[in-house]
Amino acid sequence: MKTPAQHLRDALQASPTPDRRRFLAGLGALPLLGAAASAPLPASAAVKTQARIVIAGGGAAGLTAASRLSTLLEGASITIVDARKEHYYQPGFTLVAAGIKPQNYVVSGTGDYVPKGVEWVADKVAEIDPEGRKVVTAGGKSLPYDFLIVATGLELNYGGIQGMDTARIGQNGLGSIYHSPQAASATWQAMSGFADKGGVALFGRPAGEMKCAGAPLKYTFITDDHLRRRNNRSKAELIYMAQSKSLFGVPIVAEKVRMLFQDRGVKVNHEHVLQSIDLDKRVATYKTPTGTAEQGYDFINVVPPMRAPEVVRNSPLPWTEGPFAADGWVEVDRETLRHKRYPNVFAVGDIAGVPKGKTAASVKWQVPVAVAHLMGDISGQAATEVYNGYTSCPLITRLGQAMLIEFDYKDNLIMSFPGVIAPLEELWISWVMKTMALKPTYISMLRGRA
């Protein structure tokens, strides 16, 4: 008697390939930087299959998954669904907002990276139906699948801040880097204007999960440095509104940031969460354990609350209980990225309901693991690869310097360059990696070459 898995495997394979080779999906504590090898694709024969794979979302995670799968499989039907023609290199948004890179640095085209043989449906995902094993687009096209990779990314919930208007980013001291390349550029203009005049600048982050928890901190340091370079630091008061009792999820890093903020003269208010803003009067209102607190500002970098996109929240995929349930993150096993209730569904990137970082580095290490397990289903040889929660954050502490911070699910610091780059050290070499090596490595990742 065949098991369901065996039935599935036989149905998917056109013919078994005799010299199937195990492929590496190396772990190792290697960063999303220059010369690091994560999971190089093997030079073995592709696995023949008739499997239909749908990838919901064509961002960093979706494209990386498509590139790897299209190389590993022969005969599979792989479809990416994403309406947006532009591809955003999101790790570069902070550099644009810092005045280091131009706006076009972060914009390219989704079409630049869709591999040959992969179909790109340029439409929005309107419905995900894991029971019926299909995805439906906004235009009504039904895409049945044998495997689904959810890579939709997350939704910036600006509506969660009363009074916020994204159309006014760049005006009257309002900044918000995450929104878009245009907004990042407008934020730079607003911040630069502030650096010339001085006043009160507010920084902070939302409660709940977010992508790159380091970015709000980085922008505080960058603003501080611009003020100093213009000899205007004494004219400004910088306040960081921490959403919790800590500045960062990894305790050792939180302590380092606390000391650096002290060194830079940045005031910190803990357990302050932005709930509303008056864009005309320039007053931000924060929820605190003891009530609300108002703070006037001359410049503010608004980081909105983040959650799963509506299409995922409306599906049966999110966690139903626990810390990831409220915002709709997809319920996956943290080590394999496989859905806990629908074994033929995987979630990678920002949408995955796993702890720790939602970053490009996480994508780089998650996707090969998820792909390995998907391949294991097709080939019949269960994969053993495990994702350890690796996240990397080159935390810029001034223009020209950054701290390379890397950690895993256990809050252990990981050192990719032991003996050369100390983890909590402000170094130029880390800045060089961020400005020179990160984007080429990211693009190589999209193409399945890194």
Binding site: G34, A35, I100, E425, W428
Partner: protein
């Protein structure tokens, strides 16, 4: 570091430099070939030429640092720790050596002077 996959290295540098990667590699190969060819022709090093090349090399190292600062959007006061000094020395060294080899080879082949003349 655990593993250094040369294919990943190549992919990243290709992405970074585009076609310039191949141009630079070809120029480097030609420069080294010209240098070695010169050693063969002159049956050794021509000291005066080498000293001149080395002096230019000292300048070349500085140019390399300036180029590095520009492409990495850095200033000249960004060095934070020993790893940074190592990188600065490396960039300077590569620039100096590359300039020395290039100028020695160029001077040698252009002047037609050999060790015996």
């Amino acid at each position: 570091m655990k593993e250094l996959d040369p294919m990943v290295f190549l992919a990243v540098f290709q992405e970074m430099l585009g076609p310039m990667l191949w141009v630079m590699l070809i120029v480097a190969a030609l420069a080294v070939a010209a240098f070695v060819g010169l050693l063969v022709r002159d049956r050794g090093i021509v000291s005066r030429r080498l000293v001149r090349a080395e002096l230019l090399g000292l300048l070349g190292g500085i140019v390399a640092l300036v180029i590095m600062a520009q492409v990495s959007s850095s200033g000249f006061t960004d060095a934070g720790g020993p790893a940074d000094w190592f990188l600065i020395a490396l960039v300077y060294g590569v620039g100096a050596v590359a300039t020395t080899i290039l100028t020695y080879a160029a001077m040698g082949w252009m002047s037609g002077q050999t060790a015996r003349s």
